[in-house]
């Protein structure tokens, strides 16, 4: 790479109370390249980009743009310098149209009046130029998340961005939408734009980036070209040790059925039927994966099985016990474990200590309590044991759950559910928001529980997770199971089924 870099960040250091978020980080960007910034949650990727975008001021280090030293005092300065950022959480106004959102703040006007026609036209122009199909007059709240992301990208381009920062852009997308995003990125690249792609997903980084810089604990560990980079190698750089990306898994030897769901129908709050007649079985010693795009009835299905939502009709049986009309407590007592999809809101009482959180299901029974009298010391003793066994870091039994990182919080949830020795374990999005190390832990634990002879129902939006863990895969689409596969299904086939299509139609 003899070419002089378009952008150079050198020696960037940023300290927050108690943490060095960026420790003398060097990073450069060559015109027309896609440079990925790879790292676990908390590695300092967003901090670095927020510094570049003028949201933070570095304690040390300098930024050079086209060889000249620049100061990014505010996002305004960054925008003026031709830097655009698409945040993980979109900053769009839902009730306004696509065009209105794009021109917001730099509206074309004739006299004092907003010239909406000119706005629509300009938006159409740039969307054609970069192959980003959007309808300028559609309201933001009526278009899909993938479309909203395009609007964000257009917003940056409209403001003259030459450098685009995409912060975890695929986190909110379906596999198909992610594929479309990659196409867009390539066409932007062809138009001479330079892109910084922030991610913690190895596969997509290898798919899209020209060069990859790995951050770990605030330090830039290495910058390497894509050619020759492997998932294993990147994972090792990210985590700092060997990571097993694919869990070793023995072929399942399914035993008796532990969970039986028959023609289950469930309505959501607004009265719409969102689980429409689902039947399946989970046997001892197997992992059944439920794949599907978010919002196809997964949440309600899990809630119905775990007693948090009353089904409209159908039957739920766990080890011969009918739990259809029972509540959460009966389900827990019947041997159902539940790793909920929202650990912060549901899986944990954040203000409770870890000991109390671990006792959350069992505090009514001996040895935690007797005749309504609680024994806090016993809670603490058990918590101490489980926190060690599950390698929970960042606090002891008395630490409030809120103080832990996401991965450690999830370990606490897993520890609690597994330690109750459930016959069926329902794991909903068990690795959402976790980094590679924690994902590895959860996956290995789930497989270990399978080997123990539990029946595991895994509900996930992550295709990788479903594919690497499940013995059988059910595809949920609009509240129905539209396909069932064994272990040997391809990602493409699964992806098509998830969007309601069928493999033979697409071919």
């Amino acid at each position: 790479m003899a070419e002089a870099p378009l952008l150079e960040l050198s020696g960037i250091t940023k300290r927050f109370p108690g943490v060095v978020a960026n420790d003398h980080v060097d990073f450069d960007l060559i015109k027309g390249e896609v440079h990925a910034l790879l790292g676990e949650n908390g590695a300092g990727k967003s901090t670095l980009m927020n510094i570049l975008y003028g949201l933070y001021h570095p304690d040390d280090g300098e930024i050079r743009l086209r060889g000249e030293r620049v100061r990014m005092d505010s996002p305004r300065a960054a925008i003026d310098a031709g830097i655009g950022m698409v945040h993980q959480h979109f900053m769009l106004i839902p009730v306004m149209t696509v065009a209105e959102n794009i021109v917001l703040g730099v509206e074309p006007h004739s006299g004092p009046f907003l010239d909406l026609d000119a706005a629509n036209e300009k938006v159409s122009d740039i969307s054609r130029q970069f192959g980003l199909a959007v309808r300028p007059d559609a309201r933001i709240d009526s278009i899909s998340v993938g479309m909203q992301q395009r609007v964000e990208i257009l917003k940056a381009l409209y403001r003259g961005a030459e450098i685009l920062i995409l912060d975890e852009p695929t986190a909110v997308l379906t596999p198909q939408e992610a594929e479309e995003l990659f196409t867009i990125i390539r066409s932007l690249q062809a138009e001479g734009k330079s892109i910084i792609f922030i991610s913690h997903k190895l596969g997509e980084v290898l798919a899209i980036a020209d060069r990859i810089t790995v951050l770990r604990r605030g330090k830039a560990i290495e910058t390497l070209p894509r050619a020759g980079a492997t998932e294993e190698g990147l994972a090792r750089l990210m985590v700092g040790r060997e990571v097993l990306l694919r869990v070793d898994k023995k072929p399942a030897e399914p035993g008796e059925p532990l969970l039986t769901v028959e023609d289950l129908r469930v309505r959501e709050e607004r009265g719409l039927e969102c689980v429409r007649g689902i039947s399946f079985e989970v046997r001892a010693g197997e992992i059944v994966g439920i794949a599907g795009v978010d919002g196809n009835g997964q949440t309600e299905l899990v809630e119905a099985i775990t007693g948090l939502r009353r089904p409209e009709s159908g039957r739920i049986v766990v080890r011969g016990r009918d739990l259809t009309d029972e509540g959460a407590r009966e389900c827990l007592e019947a041997g159902l474990g539940h790793i909920p999809e929202d650990r912060q809101r549901r899986g944990l009482v954040l203000d409770f200590s870890l000991a109390e959180n671990i006792a959350l299901h069992d505090f009514r029974e001996e040895p935690d309590s007797k005749w309504g009298w609680l024994f806090p010391k016993r809670l603490v003793a058990r918590a101490k044991r489980l926190l060690t066994e599950f390698d929970v870091r960042g606090g002891g039994p008395q630490t409030p759950a809120a103080a832990l990182s996401g991965g450690n919080q999830q370990k606490v949830v897993v520890a609690r559910e597994v330690s109750r020795d459930p016959s069926v374990l329902v794991a909903a999005q068990p690795t959402r928001g976790l980094d590679v190390g924690a994902i590895e832990f959860v996956h290995r634990r789930l497989v270990a529980e399978q080997d123990e002879g539990r029946g595991i129902l895994l509900v996930s939006f992550e295709l990788d997770e479903i594919l690497s863990l499940s013995d059988r895969i059910l595809v949920l689409y609009e509240g129905r199971i539209v396909a069932e596969y064994g272990r040997d299904v391809s990602e493409e086939e699964l992806g098509i089924a998830m969007t309601g299509g069928r493999a033979d139609e697409a071919a």
């Binding site: 949650n41 908390g42 967003s46 949201l55 549901r346 409030p400």
Partner: protein
Amino acid sequence: MAYEPRTSVTEGVGEWFSSRIGGILVPIAATLLAFLIGGLVVLITGNNPITAYKAIFAGTGLNWFFPWVTGETREAAANDLQQTLILMAPLILTALAVAFAFRCGLFNIGGQGQYWVGFSATLYVGTHMGGLPRPLHVFLAIVAGILAGAVWGGIAGLLKATVGAHEVITTIMLNWIAIFGGTYLYEIGGPLQGPQESIPRSDQVFESAELWPIWGSLPSLHAGIFIALFALVVYAVILNRTTLGFEVRAVGFSPEAARYSGISVAKNYFLAMAIAGAFAGLAGSVDLLGFKFSVDVGDYGTNFIAFTGIAVALLGRTRAVGILFAALLFAALEVGTSTRQLDPEVFEPALAVDLATMIQALVIFFVGAELLIVYIWRARMLLRRGPAAQPEATP
């Protein structure tokens, strides 16, 4: 890069607040600041704040604890201290009524109604059943008060649990029902009016139902303070050492997580309000059997002890020890500034009563302002640094 970056201003404030709930720094700072501003106001009225505060302090009777206070001053101090402690008992109990509900995530504004209902039930038992042995009569009268308060609080809890009626609204309504109901019972011609036909006042309780006096005589400090202290212990034990308390706290912190663990949110709303009501009802019993002995319809318009109890609970951060000291502070303030205690030369007694109210209000304002200050501080950070201005948690 955190899983859910905090993008809103309010997020994290709750966490920050709850992590400091056990802290005593803010209540103390709030109190000092309130006294400081109160002092400025005294200065504006043309008086010396230091001598005024000294006089108020002397009026609380707390100088009794100083060994160098002797003779007549010491006797006066003893009298004052008795009054402070008498007032402290119902303040502790009504504060517990707020605090217990608060721990379940409910705001019990109905302490006053629960207090009056408990008061009336105790009055009924105390004015009937003459001839019982004293311990039994006292016991029954107090149990009646506790139960009545529990029913009154429980109604609001039940409404919350079943139809979701907001407890703030229902408890305020129940307050008025209790106040007008009591007025009806004891007014002239009312069904429970006392022997004097021209006075809207109830019967006196039998002597056998009166709480034992323990110190002094005008009126004397009665055993109610011990009941209140015992209630503080009960409060802490229920919350921290029983499965009931575990459930109540789980529901208070996160109803969703509680539900997920098979805890009935509705049941706990009901129980928490009933127990809260029981504390307030007990406050009514203690006041009646300790020194009031009967009720005048006029009292319904002047006694707002349970509202001061809300302030005590908030200043005490709903912790047993915090409530103890907050109740002492508020009781002392009220007694120290009451017209009987103050020398008009030092500070106009009428003004002093207002000063007490003002300081109480300021204390609550500053305790509440803590949230506001954190909010403003975070909002400023966000505006300056943009939405992702949270340092990431390192795993």
